[in-house]
């Protein structure tokens, strides 16, 4: 039953990115579910991502809607295609452009820990 195990990740306050891999069809998914969204087989295995990827899209937010997020403006929202083959939303450094290879760090945003991508060449 190791597949049913839920690894802690940033959505629960842990500095990690977790995804699921289906042993039956090979599908990877980022939004966790109790089944594979491609073939329906239950309990895909939870795995920790290595935090590396390529920038797919970026948008620098200058106008936020809540008092908590307004305190952080401007912040860069990015979509990253990860090394493991899924796409995810995160924050990114202001200098990122589409196609940059990136690595993740974790920072505080409002009352949470969130993934922030930076150029891989600048990663510690």
């Amino acid at each position: 039953m190791s597949g049913a195990q839920r690894l802690p990740d940033w959505t629960g306050g842990e500095p990690a990115i977790v995804y699921q891999h289906c042993a039956a069809c090979g599908h990877v998914q980022y939004f966790q579910r109790k089944f594979c969204s491609a073939c329906g087989i239950p309990e895909p295995a939870a795995k920790k991502a290595n935090g590396k990827g390529v920038v797919y899209a970026t948008s620098l937010v200058m106008r936020a809607a809540t008092p908590e997020t307004k305190a952080h403006v401007p912040y860069n929202i990015v979509l990253v295609d990860t090394a493991e083959g899924f796409r995810m939303m995160a924050h990114g450094d202001r200098d990122l452009v589409i196609g940059d290879t990136v690595a993740v760090r974790f920072e505080r945003f409002t009352d949470r820990i969130i993934p922030v991508f930076q150029k891989e060449s600048e990663a510690p």
């Binding site: 959505t11 939004f31 948008s59 620098l60 937010v61 200058m62 995160a90 589409i98 945003f109 969130i114």
Partner: protein, 378 residues
């Protein structure tokens, strides 16, 4: 078969003191009168939702308020695509004989009924509650992401996008009901306040109060007859994180199905009502739908192709960008304007030929699509 038999549209902008039901009722009364019907003859009602007035049974709330006891009645929710999805359903309801005259109605006091922050926050919830919303995105940011990628892949520039805002404003300037009438330039759009790059304030539709309604009937009720020739949908994802590649997006899939349902093609189209929540939405949809080649929509716009006297006039009321956006009613204004153009009732905005029209709407982040071909048959 089904026909659009009447339309109603309020001005968009500020309607201080009016409720969601007030605005829906105003538009409904106009549409029923336009169809030459009495409210007792309406036996079907479809409505959308209101972020200001959330309710699990808005359609029956409206029916009771308005004074109708319909045979068929419920709400529909597909974000910005709701208006066209309701028209599609009304077409099938009328065609199946479940009702003779279906009232499709949307309206909301979105501007004066809540704060702008509350509107932005409510809409941002179309994002994933666990994997997206905690990162602080807004609807403009979702579309900003899409824009950044589209511009990267197809060489579209911010100045190109600005063209769409300028044309929608020029169109709105000729419609007394539009929220904005002051003409703008490319430079104005470029200098407007950054919202979520690459989108600036004038790349984004406003928040509005307003109401819109259409009556869709089994048979024509008057001299004019605009037939719903065929319509279809496509739903590829909900969240921007899951958006498919640009060669596999919902607009083209939905259009393909609508072509099959109607027997019509894009080459037949003389007038278009295309969803324009942001300049990037309009640019992408025109290109996805084959009304312009990839990366070419802005150049065609500069050449006058989409102007009122051009080859394919577009959103002559000013679109969401400048007529306004009150939620469900937003894209219904495109349908109302299309009907007026097709029946020769667009007054000073009248185009030469609107015998065949294409409507297209999207909801979410290019998530849900509805395409509809309309044909004037007399």
């Amino acid at each position: 078969m089904s026909f659009i038999t009447g339309v109603g549209l309020t001005a968009y902008g500020r309607h201080e003191g009016k409720s969601t039901l007030d605005l829906m009722s105003e538009a409904a009364s106009l549409a029923i009168a336009d169809a030459g019907l009495t409210r007792g003859e309406i036996d079907g009602i479809l409505c959308g939702y209101s972020t200001v007035m959330p309710h699990i049974m808005l359609a029956t709330v409206f029916a009771e308020h308005f004074g109708i006891r319909p045979a068929y009645c419920h709400a529909v929710q597909v974000g910005g695509a709701t208006g066209l999805a309701m028209m599609m359903l009304a077409h099938h309801v009328a065609d199946a004989g479940l009702a003779r005259h279906v009232l499709v109605v949307g309206g909301e006091n979105r501007l004066t009924g809540q704060s702008r922050d509350a509107s932005i926050q409510a809409l941002a919830q179309v994002g994933h509650p666990v994997y997206e919303v905690p990162l602080g995105p807004t609807i403009p940011a979702y579309y900003g992401l899409v824009a950044s990628r589209y511009m990267h892949e197809f060489g579209v520039t911010e100045e190109d996008l600005a063209e769409f805002a300028v044309l929608m404003r020029a169109n709105a300037a000729t419609h007394p009901g539009a929220q904005f009438h002051d003409l703008i330039t490319i430079a104005d759009v470029m200098a407007s306040k950054p919202v979520a790059s690459p989108l600036k304030l004038l790349d984004c539709c406003p928040v509005s109060d307003g109401g819109a309604a259409l009556v869709i009937s089994r048979e024509p009720t008057g001299d004019a007859a605009v037939r719903i020739a065929g319509c279809a949908q496509a739903h590829t994802h909900q969240h921007v994180t899951m958006i498919p590649a640009f060669d596999d997006m919902g607009a083209a899939i939905s259009l393909g199905r609508a072509k099959a349902a109607s027997g019509m093609d894009v080459g037949d189209v003389r007038y278009a009502g295309i969803y324009d929540s942001f300049t990037i939405t309009l640019a992408m949809l025109l290109e996805e739908l084959g009304l312009a080649a990839r990366g070419e929509a802005a150049a065609m716009m500069r050449a006058g192709h989409f102007s009122r006297d051009g080859a394919l006039p577009l959103n002559t009321h000013g679109g969401l960008l400048s007529y306004g956006h009150c939620g469900v009613g937003g894209a219904m204004a495109h349908a109302v304007e299309t009907y007026l153009q097709m029946t020769g009732h667009a007054g000073t905005r009248q185009v030469r030929d609107a015998s065949v029209a294409l409507l297209h709407g999207d909801g979410g982040v290019l998530s849900s699509h509805v395409s509809m071909f309309l044909e004037r048959v007399r």
